[in-house]
Amino acid sequence: MTTTTTTTTNDLNVAVIVKLEPDFSEGNVSYNADGTLNRAETKSILGPHSAIASSAAFYAKVKYGARVAVGTMGPPIAESALQQAQLLCDADELHLYSDRIFAGADTLATAEVLRAGVSKVEGGKVNIVFSGHRASDGETGQTGPQTAWKLGYTFLGNVVDYNVDLESRLVRAKRLISLQGFYDIIEEVEAPLPVFISIDPSYKAFFNTVSQRLAFEKYQKEAKLRAENYKQFLKVLNTQQLGIDPKLVGLPGSPTIVYKVERIPKAKASRKAEVIDGANGEQIARVVSNMYEALGGMVIK
């Protein structure tokens, strides 16, 4: 679906990169007897971090009237992730980057595909790309920053809040920095567009004027209608259409491989537990007195 656009200096174009992931919620997730994920029996949904990234993009649409595109690299079923994302952010354009040679890609090879995909977004150059903090299955958190680097966009990670100054083409964002052994820090930064924002899991879009709330409702309604006909907004792109070098994607383009997967061996028992019956009042009484002992009448602060 093409749109005629005249890019004025106050336009904002954003893109979201998302992933289809197993549904880990109770009742939907299925585990094998050995505790491993049963992918075949587990439903796939738009990953939770991708969903948050989508709602961050929706904020840009409601507040700044931004144009939103969503892209994902995956097999044909990944379309449903795009549909769910469109429901959340009223996307104007959906991209599925799909090609058999993309299989086996690690984060660097995936980033190459996504970089090419973002450059194919219509309606002008993308000013902000959003991604989730990490995928709930792979959990590397690498793909976002690597895509940002390949795009040459300034990377801002762990963003919990952001606003755009359309005139001066700047983003002001708050980032949550957690370093072990230190207190958490909220850092406020400013960077010129274009930027790549990796959204922190604690991000919550908040709209604080009447007009934004009304716009929110309007776009939500539009999103519902669009998502019902999401195929109209969908473009499927392969290697050729993306204009990428096959050597840099999929298995060929991946520096890393998964060598093996094994059960983590049960660590040697470091304590000898006394097993007691939870219904035995006497034994419970004894445990409780041990607990109080541990809490220490001796420790007086």
Partner: protein, 395 residues
């Protein structure tokens, strides 16, 4: 010197705050030291552990790092590097990684192209920094690693070796626990030896989970070189401005509580009720409430209030969250995945409540109460109230 001296040394990117190294930095150095001592012995070589420090007024810190195992420390001291900014940091670290000049200052550098290995911290900063640096250096990265081994491996891979069996020497095996906590995935960063697509991939890099490895003992007799590096800044690279930094007080405070009660997937039969019970138990013994990693992914349908209070990353106990050591630790409905155990095994007295006697947590606790939490906790509460010490311990 061996044939391939294009890729040498192990570079450790050090993080610091307020002039102190972040604990994981010392842990990384400790592991780097152990690995390279083994490496040098096995291969009769003399490759170095090289710490990389970016910051402002960090000279003293750099010198300290030698006592913790660094052979060389590349010290980049500039006011522009006071706060971490991904763009400029990535450029500088990449420049350093490619610099033969720097290597010459502490080692034979005639053929140096890039480091052999690279370590980063798997935290807010390191995760992203490692990603962009490796994108710039065009090599492989594995994240959230908790075990490392250097091996010569026979590899047969459909693409990397075109199905042939080939020997890859000095390969870094990078182990990471998967989301379930029960499996180890081993990642390798390997050159492409497939004639259709020959490519070398170095450094082999990883980001390391805090709290997993032990730092080396501080040894003031160690010697090493501190090398100064003056970076070249491009105006464009400085375009991110840090406007403000504020310390955030978390709602969750493990450190000031003597007891911690944690819960895991065992609450699933009636999550809202069970969590209420657990909260009551915690209240009774003035404990903070923790959760296992899967809980932070909000797997249950509970009230908004319960979700936002308990199912949050701030409460996670384990390698992906907090490592704690309270006087009393009660694990309710937690099976005992390795990464959770790592987060609490130093606790004083550990009690587990679980209906399944075969849970791994049985090996990590002092008392294993066999039973369902909805039955056991009310009994515990009754008993706790009965036995409440009559002399209140003053806080």
């Amino acid at each position: 010197m061996k044939a391939s001296s294009k890729y040498q040394h192990l570079y450790v990117v050090v993080e610091h705050e307020d002039g102190m190294p972040v604990p994981v930095s010392l842990e990384m150095l400790g592991e780097a030291r152990r690995l390279m001592d083994g490496f040098n012995k096995k291969y009769s070589s003399d490759e170095k552990v090289v710490a990389v420090v970016l910051g402002h007024n960090v000279r003293k810190l750099c010198e300290e790092l030698i006592f913790y195992g660094a052979d060389a420390v590349i010290c980049v001291d500039s006011p522009e590097l006071q706060h971490r900014r991904n763009l400029i940091d990535t450029k500088v670290i990449s420049q350093i990684a490619r610099s033969r000049e720097l290597v010459a200052k502490f080692s034979n550098a005639s053929e140096f192209i890039k480091p052999r290995y690279m370590f980063f911290a798997a935290d807010s900063i390191g995760r992203h920094m490692s990603s962009t640096v490796l994108a710039e250096l065009e090599s492989g990265l594995a994240s959230d690693i908790n075990k490392l081994v250097i091996e010569d491996l026979e590899i047969k891979h459909e693409h990397k070796t075109k199905g042939q069996s080939m020997k890859y020497e000095k390969t870094l095996e990078m182990y990471r626990p998967d989301f379930s906590g029960f499996l180890w995935t081993t990642i390798l960063c390997l050159d492409n030896r497939n004639p259709a697509n020959e490519r070398e991939y170095h450094p082999q890099a990883c980001s390391i989970i805090p709290g997993v490895f032990a730092p080396s003992e501080r040894d003031t007799s160690r010697r090493g070189t501190v090398v100064e590096y003056i970076p070249e800044f491009d105006e464009k690279d400085l375009r991110v401005r840090v406007l403000d930094r504020k310390i955030v007080k978390s709602a969750v405070d493990f450190d000031s509580h003597k007891a911690v009660v944690s819960f895991g997937k065992g609450v699933k039969d009636s999550p809202e009720q069970n969590i209420k019970l657990i909260a009551e138990l915690a209240k009774e013994i003035e404990a903070e409430v923790g959760v296992s990693l899967p809980i932070s992914k909000k797997p249950f349908s509970v009230s908004e209030s319960t979700n936002s209070t308990y199912m949050i990353p701030d409460r996670v106990i384990g390698t992906s969250g907090r490592k704690i050591a309270p006087l009393l630790y009660i694990a309710v409905g937690i099976s005992g995945a390795m990464q959770h155990i790592a987060g609490m095994k130093e606790s004083g007295f550990i009690v587990a409540i679980n209906p399944d006697e075969n849970s791994p947590i049985k090996d990590e606790c002092d008392v294993f109460i066999k039973g369902r939490m909805e039955d056991v906790i009310p009994l515990l509460l009754e008993e706790l109230r009965k036995q409440r010490p009559t002399i209140e311990v003053k806080k």
